[in-house]
């Protein structure tokens, strides 16, 4: 009876709607798209080329280049190879991103790797991807970025020693809560925050590059003489240097998370990639050059926070701006992570791979509030225990497994899905190279320092299979019985509705 009433009611609604607004189904979908655009892409409705490039540059440049650019240098030990590797990593990231561009224009669905894995290998690898990234990689990287934000922000108050854990954790939790609130309350506010923080990031990048160029012009080129002397070049050292260098470029696939919202994606997606990533590469190389103008490679390796040392030597007495802007930059990365992470849950929820409610949208604020709150909660759980950094580091190899799988998907689909329209078609050699590099990057840390923890990580990823079998494949009725009332009450509490409902 209730059902019938409901149907009647819905019919009535439709009728009234039709009466009220002359446009019916068609514009309704447009509304949806507009709504989706609103939360999926915060830089305003025009997701053009410029904002695409901004997004790439803004998300790739994190705090790493300011704090620990030494990981590359530590492996090759000389200035010349170090700069070469930074540039080469940029090329590699561009290649990877081009593969993603082909995938993105072939399968125009948001959600990054998820839809491609789904298309090429079916639901199980796709589920494992979302299982791993939803529960571990994404929330933990959100947590870690917030933790490092807290560390940088509190470090000036504790000269000469580490800030107490209580301070770091309180501050990190506060950052998570604030970012979660801001992003679930308003897409606009979140994007204003993001724009401001990205601007701050670009300012400090510009300051470092310009002062480096000025120093070079003044003739401080001592550290570039014989720049290949004393380098330590072997297969293992170079692959480890690449491994570390590529981390600084992580985020090159960000644009694929929002393919659906790109304006003219066939043109803008590849163009943004071709312009954006080399731009980042140039920034990285120039920042490194700036560092080398004032620091020898030994000093750079010994510095706790390289940009801060640079600021102390070059910008004094205004050296305080460096730590301040590094803090902004870190906060920006955290905000950005929260943002893309939200989208991933949303897509997985849409496919029914996680609780449906996670894909719902707030009625009042038009944000994917459940997804964001879910991330916030998981991230806070991650910062509570003592030392998660190490555990999470082990999981980082999982990221490359999925990158490799995704690019492999590209190759596979060249044969299995010939009929698909490919507006961009990269030479087959590119995905082959990227796949090989991914394999290398997955194996490199395991071979160089084999640990049992990698096995646990693999087991965790595979344990997703059990969950998949129980809840997604078999769809146990008792699970439904529990989830339904919870969904209902949460829906009413948070005022969220499924996106699809509007389209019906």
């Amino acid at each position: 009876m209730g059902e019938e009433n409901l149907k009647r009611r819905k019919g009535e609604d439709k009728g009234r709607e039709d009466r009220q607004s002359i446009q019916s189904h068609e514009p309704q979908t447009m509304n949806l798209q507009k709504q989706a655009n609103l939360f999926l892409f915060p830089f305003g409705p025009c997701v053009g080329l410029i904002s695409g490039i901004c997004m790439i540059v803004g998300t790739i440049i994190g705090s790493g280049i300011f704090v620990s650019p030494k990981s590359v240098l530590a492996n090759v030990e000389a200035v010349g190879p170090c700069l070469t590797i930074w540039a080469a990593c940029g090329v590699l990231a561009t290649l990877g991103a081009l593969c993603f561009a082909e995938l993105g224009t072939m399968i125009t669905k948001s959600g990054g790797e998820y839809p491609y894995l789904m298309e090429a290998f079916g639901p199980i690898p796709a589920f494992l991807f979302s299982w791993t990234s939803l529960l571990v990689t994404k929330p933990s990287s959100f947590a870690i970025i917030c933790l490092s934000f807290a560390e940088y922000a509190s470090a000036p108050f504790y000269p000469g020693c580490d800030p107490p854990q209580a301070v770091i954790k309180c501050l990190a939790a506060a950052a998570i809560v604030v970012i979660t609130i801001v992003n679930s309350l308003s897409v606009k506010l979140g994007s204003y925050l993001q724009n401001f923080l990205t601007a701050a990031k670009m300012i400090i990048v510009a300051v470092i590059i310009v002062s480096g160029i000025v120093l070079l012009a003044q003739g401080k080129t001592d550290n570039f003489k014989d720049s290949f002397k004393g380098s330590k070049i072997s297969v293992s050292s170079i692959s480890l240097a690449f491994y570390n260098g590529l981390w600084a470029y992580d985020g090159w696939n960000q644009l694929n998370y929002i393919t659906e919202e790109l304006k003219n994606p066939y043109r803008n997606l590849p163009l943004s990639i071709i312009i954006g990533i080399p731009l980042v590469t140039v920034c990285y190389v120039l920042i490194n050059v700036s560092y080398f103008t004032v620091m020898t490679s030994t000093e750079l390796l010994q510095s706790q926070a390289v940009a801060v040392t640079f600021g102390d030597r070059v910008l004094y007495p205004a050296s305080w701006i460096v730590p301040l802007f590094v803090v902004f930059s870190t906060l920006g990365s955290a905000n950005g992570t929260c943002f893309t992470a939200g989208r991933l849950v949303y897509v997985a929820g849409r496919e029914g791979h996680v609780l449906k409610i996670l894909s719902y949208i707030s009625v009042k604020h038009l944000t994917p509030a459940p997804a964001i709150i879910f991330y916030g909660i998981i991230a806070i759980i991650y910062i509570i225990p003592g030392d998660i950094d190490s555990l999470i580091n082990y999981f980082s190899f999982a990221v490359w497994i999925f990158y490799g799988l995704t690019v492999l998907a590209l190759i596979v689909m060249r044969f299995t899905r010939k009929e698909l329209k490919r507006p961009i078609k990269v030479p087959i050699i590119i995905p082959v190279i990227v796949t090989l590099v991914s394999i290398l990057l997955v194996l490199a840390p395991i071979i160089s320092a084999p640990e049992l923890a990698y096995l646990y990580c693999t087991l965790f990823i595979l344990s997703g299979l059990i969950v998949y079998a129980l809840f997604v494949h078999l769809k146990f009725s008792w699970a439904q019985k529990i989830s339904k009332p919870i969904t209902m009450h949460l829906q009413m509490l948070l005022e969220v509705v499924p996106e699809e409902e509007v389209t019906e």
Partner: protein, 690 residues
């Protein structure tokens, strides 16, 4: 203002969101109307939907999972959801406020953290005797680099390398020929740079000696000065001296530390130059600003190389009175002619002159320019053995307004005349009582200028001395080899051939090569011989054998440094003197807020039994031995009424108390604390103002 902003957010935002999405706004308006119309008939009932839906016959609509917006909006505004939502929202806002406030409060209440030079012991290396890497029998910088693992093994954080400047004196480099270069026997500048990098890679810090008072007579400055070349003319202290009957009559009665007149006639310049030490070590003229600038440039040079600090040696000799009056003799009746020894005069005009501390402060100022980078504070110690005048020593701590040395090195425990519980107490107390408030103490039991502990006070006391050193508050300084209990070599083994200048022979026996293992030359060198003979006891006293044996001096040293770094009361807690007699010295270390306290019972005399409960009535009747110089005793429970210590035995007792000694009336004035902080158990952190 943050709060106001946060409050205004939700309203503002929902407005904006609404405006953006026109389609939705229309719907919303429509929905509102609908709910408005329907609410009249439904509202009284809907609130019970959740509670008892069946009872309401006329319910046309039920909330269900995955309901669309139209359905949702009819129910979500019910009081039970709306109020919960509001409460949750404000709770989260309040929670984030609380988190931010808590962070600010903790930061504001945090005590200044211990800097690297406060956090761990300093290990003093005499580079010529530490480790030889090139088989020439002389220790070198590469050798130190090879043995850095030994230093980390000792849980030590700071290395102090004594002078290694290029110097013609084969001994100590006490008179540098070139402040910008390294003596070839120690290696090259590249070796030094590699050593610094290796030290920093291990997370260690390095400080070096700088003796600004004088140079070698081979120094370029001196050569230019004796020729009266330009600005160098006044780099040294030159005076006309009368010549009569073929002998030189010095300008006054001043004598050098090594004896005889401190004036030396120079044939080239036909004038006398002043030297506080040997005649090969002419004193620089610190009244000349150019000389001060030279020294500051030297400081900058080495700090630029990455050195983390300096120990400034013999600074009290920097300035001399310009009036050149005779110094008063100790024995008034003594004839001026017969005064030859340094101890026969009061050195009122040659030491600690007015203006000295200004020079040292200017050094500090230069070092502060290099201290700005986070974690790169440059340490400054002053190394002046003021045996008599503790107040003059304390001057180097500076004042609350003007920073000077971080600490003057403390030689009280080395200068002790005789050994007993009481004399130890006096040595400790005189430093703690005289140290300016807010400053950081330090202790040394060995140095390159004093006989080794085992030789000075006896082998049986080496462990208890190390225990004292590492449990007192402040920075402990360990001279290389003291961690394994090395002894002086017999002085007849130290022949003239080892040195050019006589007076330093006396200090050579405590500089014998480090005893690494039981192989030839104690593993110090692969070469055939070492510059000083290795002590013959190296087969039983060496690092290798002692590290395999937990009851060794080395084992105890490591256990003590580990205890020190892991236990807050030992790190920065109170120190209260509890008891001392001719045999034992007893003190406690405790921290406000921490119920765990440590009591050290150290025997510097003969077997003795102490009733500690009689001294501290609130002491629990039982305490656990956390560490003992007799390793096997660790973990035993002792009765605090009856604590027995053997000769040279030391105990670290651990007990729990709610009434720490430093709060007791009876111990007022017997307790000291530097960098006071209190512990909060709930938050596991330290805070100030308690």
């Amino acid at each position: 203002t943050v709060e106001v902003e946060a409050r205004s957010l939700p309203m503002e935002l929902s407005e904006k969101g609404g405006v953006q999405n026109n389609g939705f706004v229309q719907n919303e308006d429509f929905e509102d109307k609908e709910t408005a119309t329907s609410s009249q008939e439904e509202t009284p009932k809907t609130c019970s939907v959740d509670v008892d839906p069946v009872a309401v016959e006329e319910t046309v609509l039920k909330p269900y999972a995955g309901m669309p917006k139209e359905v949702l909006l009819q129910f979500s505004s019910q009081a039970c959801y709306r109020v919960t939502r509001e409460i949750l929202f404000w709770l989260v806002i309040a929670g984030s406020m609380v988190l931010v406030c808590a962070t600010i409060a903790i930061i504001a209440l945090s005590p200044k953290c211990l800097d690297w030079w406060q956090a761990g012991p300093i290990y003093q290396i005499y580079p010529r005797s530490f480790k030889d890497s090139n088989m020439d029998g002389n220790g070198d910088l590469k050798g130190i680099q090879e043995k850095l693992d030994h230093i980390t093994y000792l849980n030590i954080k700071t290395i102090w390398i004594t002078s290694f400047f290029k110097s013609p004196l084969k001994d100590l480099g006490y008179g540098a020929e070139d402040f910008y270069d390294i003596d070839p026997i120690f290696g090259s500048m590249t070796d030094f740079e590699n050593l610094i990098a290796a030290i920093h890679d291990k997370g260690l810090k390095v400080i070096m000696d700088l003796i600004p008072n004088h140079t070698s007579d081979k120094h370029r400055w001196f050569q230019l000065s004796r020729n009266r070349t330009g600005k160098y003319t006044d780099y040294y202290i030159w005076q006309d001296c009368r010549q009569a009957a073929g002998s030189v009559i010095p300008p006054n009665n001043w004598v050098s530390v090594f004896g005889n007149s401190s004036w030396q006639f120079d044939e080239v310049r036909k004038q006398c130059y002043f030297h506080q030490f040997g005649k090969e070590q002419p004193d620089l003229n610190f009244r000349n600003p150019a000389v001060q600038q030279e020294i500051r440039d030297i400081i900058k040079f080495w700090l630029g190389k990455g050195v983390d600090g300096f120990s400034f040696g013999t600074v009290k000799f920097l300035l001399e009175a310009t009036h050149l009056r005779d110094e008063p003799p100790v024995n008034k009746s003594q004839n001026g002619e017969n005064i030859r020894a340094y101890s026969q005069l009061y050195h009122d005009y040659t030491t600690t002159q007015v203006g000295l501390h200004d020079i040292i402060r200017s050094f500090r100022h230069t070092m502060n320019e290099f201290s700005r980078e986070p974690g790169r504070y440059r340490f400054m110690g002053s190394d002046d053995d003021e045996k008599e005048d503790i107040e003059a020593t304390m001057m180097y701590y500076g004042t609350t307004f003007i920073q000077e040395a971080d600490f003057p090195f403390n030689f009280n425990l080395i200068n002790m005349k005789n050994l007993s519980g009481n004399s130890i107490f006096e040595a400790v107390n005189s430093w703690m009582k005289n140290m300016p408030a807010g400053k950081w103490p330090n202790w040394a039991v060995g140095s390159p200028n004093a006989a080794r502990i085992s030789t000075r006070i006896g082998k049986e006391y080496i462990n208890v001395m190390n225990m004292l050193l590492l449990t007192l508050p402040g920075t402990p300084v360990t001279y290389y080899g003291e961690e394994i209990g090395m002894e002086n070599i017999a002085s007849e083994n130290v022949s003239e051939e080892h040195v050019d200048s006589g007076p330093v022979v006396a200090t050579l026996p405590e500089k014998s090569p480090m005893q690494w293992d039981g192989r030839g030359n104690a593993g110090f060198t692969e070469g055939n011989s070492s510059w000083l003979p290795v002590n013959s006891n190296y087969e039983s006293v060496n690092v290798e054998i002692q590290s395999s044996w937990s009851n060794s001096t080395l084992g105890l040293y490591r256990a003590l440094t580990l205890l020190r770094s892991s236990e807050l009361p030992l790190n920065r807690g109170w120190m209260c003197h509890v008891w001392s007699d001719s045999d034992v010295f007893v003190f406690v270390r405790e921290l406000d807020g921490l119920h765990r306290a440590f009591m050290m019972v150290l025997n510097f005399g003969h077997q003795s039994t102490t009733d500690l409960q009689a001294v501290v009535p609130s002491l629990p009747s039982e305490a656990v031995i956390r560490l003992s110089t007799h390793f096997s005793n660790a973990g035993e429970v002792v009765n605090t009424k009856l604590i027995k210590t053997e000769m040279g035995e030391g105990l670290v007792l651990e007990y729990k108390t709610a009434k720490p000694v430093h709060t007791m009336e009876a111990f007022q004035g017997k307790c000291f604390v530097a960098e006071k902080a209190c512990y909060s158990k709930a938050l596991n952190l330290l805070y100030v103002n308690c």
